[in-house]
């Protein structure tokens, strides 16, 4: 059998998986998995083991794991706690894996680590000791640690993004953290106070392939790039239809190429602008932008795309995928130029990731 790709979809009501061959024109979908729990993020490791993080209104937070391609799942939460008397953890929001270590970001914001395939967890307590911790406040989605960016070569380096606290970076495996928000704006603060050290409402943080010092972030207030590991940020929002959006997805090989779905604004409904859907891409690290619309609805489209709901695959040419707040999943097999609908009636899509078996 030739190359395959799986799109891992976390939704408000379970995990769904869309599978195709490398042509990516015909898809089969299975789900809902994980007992239809709200799932915020689904990832796969190199072996194809699937991990899904979420939280259920009745049963609390858990990380689910499947070692058979999604046919069966187990759930774990031992250690996913701030301790007796601590604020209960509501849900797992983000997952990332490096080697044998699995990380989970949770609500209320914190980072946990597992060394046994997600079965037991330990708190990365150093993040809570950052001096800004008492000032962290929830955004509309809660006070969530939603982005975990792992350095590809250095296991001591991690970046996390928290709404609304900002970006933080550790170079010692999580013992100490430094704020990385210089140059990112807080339009919701008074004039003269709009560039604080922390408190930014970062929506999504990603790392460029092959350039570990290059980070991109979609913020509540603008789009930014850093070429020094987050020490300083430059606005790259010029040419975009809006400063507001949630997801950002990097190309699998080209560090200059990035994909966004700008929305019409924080207070205007958070729809695609003018009811016309477009994925905006740059091929020059944000100097210029192009709206890709072919195959996407161009009238009466009033959906949003949430912060973890866009991803690329590693095939050639790269595939790009996004899921909407109204349960539609779109795919491009040609680096974002042309789009097809994979699914139209899923639950609210929280996250999209991809997995391609290595031959």
């Amino acid at each position: 059998m030739g190359e395959q790709v799986s799109v891992l979809i976390g939704t408000r009501k379970g995990v769904f998986i869309a599978r195709s061959d490398a042509g990516r024109s015909a898809w089969q979908i299975d789900g809902p998995h994980c007992e239809a729990w709200p799932i915020n993020h689904v990832i796969a490791d190199d072996t194809g083991t699937l991990f899904a993080g979420g939280g259920n209104e009745w049963f609390g937070p858990a990380v689910w794991r499947s070692t058979d391609g999604g046919r069966s799942w187990n759930h774990f939460s031992a250690g996913l706690t701030y301790g007796e008397g601590g604020t209960p953890i509501k849900a797992v929001w983000s997952l990332a894996r490096r080697g044998k270590t699995l990380y989970a970001g949770v609500e209320p914001a914190g980072l946990f680590r597992s060394e046994d395939e997600g079965e037991t967890w330990s708190h990365v307590e150093g993040l809570q000791r950052h001096p800004s911790r008492p000032t962290w406040v929830p955004g509309a989605g809660g006070m969530i640690l939603h982005s975990i960016v792992l350095h590809p070569d250095d296991p001591t380096q991690i970046w996390v993004a928290i709404s609304a606290a900002g970006v933080f970076h550790t170079t010692d495996g999580g013992e100490t953290w430094a704020a990385r928000n210089s140059g990112t704006r807080c339009d919701f603060l008074p004039e003269g106070q709009q560039y604080p050290e922390t408190g930014q409402c970062v929506h999504c943080l990603v790392m460029a392939p092959g350039r570990s010092n290059r980070l991109y972030q979609q913020n509540h207030c603008g789009m930014y790039r850093s070429d020094d590991g987050g020490v300083s940020w430059q606005s790259i929002e010029k040419g975009l239809p809006s400063t507001f959006g949630f997801p950002a997805a990097v190309h699998p090989r080209d560090p200059e190429r990035l994909y966004l779905v700008p929305l019409n604004g924080a207070m205007e409904g958070r729809f695609v602008p003018d009811g016309r859907a477009a994925v905006w891409s740059t091929g020059d690290a944000g100097s210029s932008w192009h709206g890709n619309r072919a195959g996407l609805p161009q009238e009466n489209a009033f959906f949003g795309v949430l912060r973890q709901a866009m991803a690329t695959d590693c095939l050639e040419p790269a595939g790009v995928y996004f899921g909407t707040s109204s349960g539609e999943l779109y795919a491009s097999a040609d680096e974002g130029t042309n789009w097809i609908s994979i699914a139209a009636h899923l639950p609210v899509i929280h996250s999209v990731e991809t997995w391609t078996p290595r031959s």
Partner: protein, 99 residues
Amino acid sequence: MDAAQLTGTGTGQVDLRLPEALLALFPGAPRRLHLGAGSVRELIAELDRRWPGMSDRLTDSRPAIRKHINVFVDGERAGLDTPLDAGASVTILLAISGG
């Protein structure tokens, strides 16, 4: 009910009913069982011993029974510290929630 499930740990046995949605998370757990416990806290600890992880599904770190889980003892709403007499009827139910 399977007679084999009517096993307990000794005195103070209570008659426990679990919700279907919980059983889906713990394959092999029965809908109804008898087990020994002197309080709701002990009962949940015994459930967790038999089905690791079940305590996390029913309680949180406050510590308390989760907000949308209800435990009834002989028809009365109970908390973790509610004592259990031998022969008590305990029912764990899911409250209205979701969307």
